[in-house]
């Protein structure tokens, strides 16, 4: 009796093991947020792009090492006229619905992404026209030479023009006017996976595309993806620990050791394309939130210097970030064109020297100021701010911390209503110009929209403007270096660190972390 029972148990265990071996090609994946929409041009946001990348494809994309590789285009280069780029398209590609991929689809998709209701239009604002040359050649005309045009296209997905038109979604939906269209719910891309089912904020199931053009080129070992957003950090990690999911992004830093320690789980790590730093309003004559009347203490570079060396970046790394960050002295991650080790070096933590500088600047007794900080945007954002409050307190800067959700924090920066704030910046183009345009250029209609420091330097602005059309890389890089020298010596910003990305996964999964936090599951392999 007992024996038969044991045998039965053994058999069922074997059966189950066998079953899970068959299912090994299913990947259960969780991260904190869900994609916001299936319309590929309606949101310019990480998780939305990540899901879209599995089903739609851009002309060119970044691979798991963030290098640009061909996707729907096979080659791209400027023509003799430097304002016109020629893209050769991949032939023989079919959409999930069976439609052929041609130049018409590219023209359609780019025009769609440049419409007023598109969220992607800012990345394309240098494009004047998109023209079909033949079925597999497209010309992009820009308003001046734009050496970085391809960098702006890595999240620009191509839809089928016929399908989109038939479904009435020629334009990205107009949320304001109750616009609704089927492209928000359905997908017809060329990507490695097709949409099986989707419940917003709950579960999305993708199946491998049997007709994918990249067969043989990519591993394509995943046949099915079950994607579940899990917002609560502890719940997400619990799901991984209990084996309910195979891969999670956004592992809270405090839970990294337990993921690493747990049998059957591992942790992969990579430096992320995002720098965290503090901005200071140094342009105003007087600050609203400080305790100094008629003067702006932050306008004095000695004060900024003192604050810079009063930040104990190593302690933040060790305690707040649990060693999962790369302290830095410049507001750019290492992959970006223009980065050097000298720029990256951060000043030594030295309270005595900082106090002396404060004394010298006439603020020996310190001053009070409000620090605006997000509490749901970056890794341990509020924790970093709290730590900074303590550190600045040591040199007499009495900081009043105002931590808020991102929806309330970022408008303060954009409307220039903050004196001292935290910001994180990623560089999707992998070039310094992107940083300068948004963070160091004087605020104008088009540029400097995130520069809340009030810093304005016409000389620097001219140099930044020259970058856009400079085709000689060497000259351009020299200018970039000059700009960085100014930014650093003026202590325009107080850099903290570059974020480090961690993905927790089951041992059976082989997957490197992508620096932009964008997994492309066609690259994933199983052990």
């Amino acid at each position: 009796m007992t024996k038969t029972f044991l045998k039965l148990t053994a058999a069922s265990v074997a059966l189950c093991a066998g079953l899970s071996a068959v299912n090994a090609e299913t990947l259960r994946w969780a991260r904190a947020g869900d994609s916001l929409t299936l319309d590929p041009h309606a949101q310019n946001e990480g998780p939305t792009h990540t899901l879209a990348h599995q089903m739609y494809e851009p002309l060119l994309q970044r691979d798991m090492e963030a290098q640009i590789i061909p996707a729907l285009a096979t080659s791209w280069e400027p023509t003799e006229d430097p304002t016109v780029w020629e893209f050769k398209l991949r032939e023989g590609v079919k959409f999930h619905g069976g439609e052929d991929f041609t130049a018409d689809d590219v023209v359609f998709s780019f025009k769609r992404a440049m419409m007023p209701t598109s969220a992607m239009k800012e990345l394309l604002n240098s494009i004047k026209d998109v023209r079909k040359v033949d079925d597999y050649t497209v010309h992009f005309e820009t308003d001046g030479p734009n050496p970085l045009l391809p960098n702006n296209m890595t999240n620009l997905f191509i839809m089928d023009s016929g399908w989109a038109t038939d479904n009435g979604c020629e334009a990205p939906q107009d949320i304001a006017n109750g616009g609704d269209n089927p492209c928000v719910r359905a997908v017809n891309g060329t990507g490695a996976f097709t949409l099986e089912s989707r419940k917003q904020d709950s579960e999305t199931i993708l199946k491998q595309n049997p007709n994918y053009w990249g067969k043989g080129e990519f591993p394509l070992e995943v046949t099915e993806i079950i994607y579940t957003p899990i917002q609560e950090g502890a719940t997400r990690v619990s799901a991984l620990l209990s084996g309910e999911v195979d891969l999670i992004q956004d592992v809270p830093v405090q839970d990294l050791p337990i993921v690493e320690r747990t049998d059957g789980l591992k942790l992969n790590t990579a430096a992320q394309n995002r720098t965290i730093f503090f901005g200071m309003n140094q342009g105003a004559d007087d600050l609203t939130s400080d305790t100094v009347d008629g003067k702006n203490p932050l306008a004095d570079n000695r004060v900024r210097e003192a604050m810079n060396i009063a930040l104990n970046r190593d302690a933040i790394k060790k305690i707040v970030m649990r060693d999962q960050s790369a302290p830095t002295g410049v507001i750019m991650p290492p992959f970006v064109n223009g980065w050097t080790e000298a720029l990256d070096a951060y000043p030594e933590y030295d309270v005595a020297k900082a106090r002396a500088l404060m004394e010298e600047a006439g603020y020996g007794d310190g001053f009070g100021i409000t620090l605006n900080c997000p509490n749901d945007r970056y890794i341990n954002d509020e924790g970093i701010c709290q730590a900074a409050v303590g550190m600045l307190g040591q040199i007499g800067v009495k900081v009043n911390l105002d931590a808020k959700p991102k929806a309330q924090h970022f408008p303060l920066i954009q409307n220039k209503e903050t004196d001292f704030y935290m910001l994180g910046w990623g560089v999707p183009t992998f070039d310094s110009e992107y940083i300068f345009n948004f963070l160091t250029h004087t605020t104008t209609d088009k540029l400097g929209s995130w520069n809340a420091t009030g810093y304005s330097n016409p000389d620097l602005d001219a140099k930044i403007a020259s970058l856009a059309s400079e085709t000689d890389q060497e000259v351009r890089n020299a200018t970039i270096a000059e700009i960085w020298d100014t930014v650093k010596s003026e202590n325009l910003y107080l850099p903290i660190h570059n974020q480090v990305l961690n993905w927790g996964m089951a041992d059976k999964v082989n997957f490197a972390v992508q620096p932009e936090d964008q997994p492309h599951f066609k690259f994933l392999t199983f052990n």
Binding site: G233, A234, V237, S238, L241, P252, Q254, D255, P257, I258, S289, N312, A315, I316, K318, I319, V320, T370, N375, E382, G383, Q386, A387, V389, G390, M391, G393, Q394, K398, V399, N400, L401, D402, A403, P405
Partner: protein
């Protein structure tokens, strides 16, 4: 009987108070004191409650560190284990430290103070509002009664956390940013208080309607006592028992409601954390091994709410003559 009961309650929280022998004798011989002596759970919980009050009131004296003075913090003290000395700074921590190097024991004492303050003041607010409206409603009646009871109905339809979230949102908007942290506590108090006045009002109204018809009140009216004198001096003392019971249970509810709100990000601010805020922060560490950051504040909150709840339970049974 009712004066007696309120004396008894005072006596329990401060057993060493010296009062006039006659009063002392009165309650020593009362049923309540008898019942108190006979239930060990109540003795334990009232002692716990007294200790917690003591800790909260004297938090500034008792706490070994000043956890909310940023310039006194050393980040390197972060995540020190309980009963141990930090390897970098050599500081000793009884219950360990949190992610910012704050002494958990000190943060609990201060958190306890905020939690109790919010709870007690919210209940006092709810009680005064409820008692006054209940008296008016029950004694004067008519359309005033109708209006008050309709408002109470509407209030009842909204669960406390909804009321608190709505009020919190409005309060945040109306208060200038630099005062928000200070005002946040008051917004909490008002929102929790508002969601609990109805119980007081209904009870007082019911009792008032019964008392109003009694002869001694009629007599009082005849000799020309004012409405308010009758309500406050003659009717109110008759309902102190039920009010006390509701107040005790509301106190526990208010403390938990405040903790729950901190999960939704509308609780006490991190610069003035309550026990709920501390628990919400500690929640992140449930899997990571830093159990002390979650456990100790949770146990404190449990001890606080449980002792208040048990006490309220006992009080209700004792004060309800029908159950004896």
């Amino acid at each position: 009987m009712d004066n007696q009961s309120s004396n008894a309650v005072e006596a329990q929280s401060e057993p060493n108070v010296v009062s006039a022998p006659s009063t002392l004798q009165r309650w020593a011989q009362s049923d309540i004191w008898y019942s108190y002596k006979r239930s060990p759970i109540i003795i334990v919980s009232s002692i716990t409650f007294t200790l917690l009050i003591f800790g909260a009131v004297f938090s500034a004296l008792l706490s070994p560190y000043t956890p909310f003075d940023p310039s006194s913090l050393n980040l390197m003290n972060g995540f020190t284990k309980p009963l141990s000395t930090n390897e970098f700074t050599g500081d000793y921590f009884l219950l360990g430290t949190d992610d910012q190097g704050r002494d958990v024991f000190s943060t609990i004492l201060f958190g306890l103070r905020i939690s109790l303050f919010v709870g007690v003041v919210a209940v006092l607010f709810a009680m005064s509002l409820g008692v006054v409206l209940g008296l008016i409603s029950g004694y004067i009646g008519g359309w005033i009664d109708g209006v008050i009871m309709r408002i109470a109905d509407i209030q009842m339809t909204f669960p406390s956390i909804m009321v608190a979230m709505l009020l919190y949102g409005i309060g945040k908007g109306l208060i200038p940013p630099d005062l928000r942290d200070e005002m946040a506590i008051w917004v909490l108090i008002i929102s929790i208080g508002l969601s609990e006045w109805v119980q007081f009002a209904r009870t007082v109204r019911g009792a008032t309607m019964v008392e109003r018809e009694k002869e001694y009140i009629q007599a009082g009216r005849l000799i020309g006592l004012s409405r308010w004198t009758i309500m406050l001096r003659h009717i109110l003392p008759n309902v102190t028992g039920p009010i006390l019971v509701i107040a005790t249970i509301s106190l526990a509810l208010a403390i938990i409601a405040e903790a729950t709100l901190s999960f939704l990000g509308v609780g006490a601010p991190k610069t003035e954390p309550s026990l709920g805020t501390l628990i919400n922060v500690g929640r992140q560490y449930i899997l990571s091994g830093e159990w002390w950051i979650l456990l100790f504040p949770s146990l404190t909150l449990l001890a606080l709410a449980l002792s208040v709840n048990l006490f309220g339970d006992w009080l209700r049974d004792v004060l309800n003559p029908k159950l004896r």
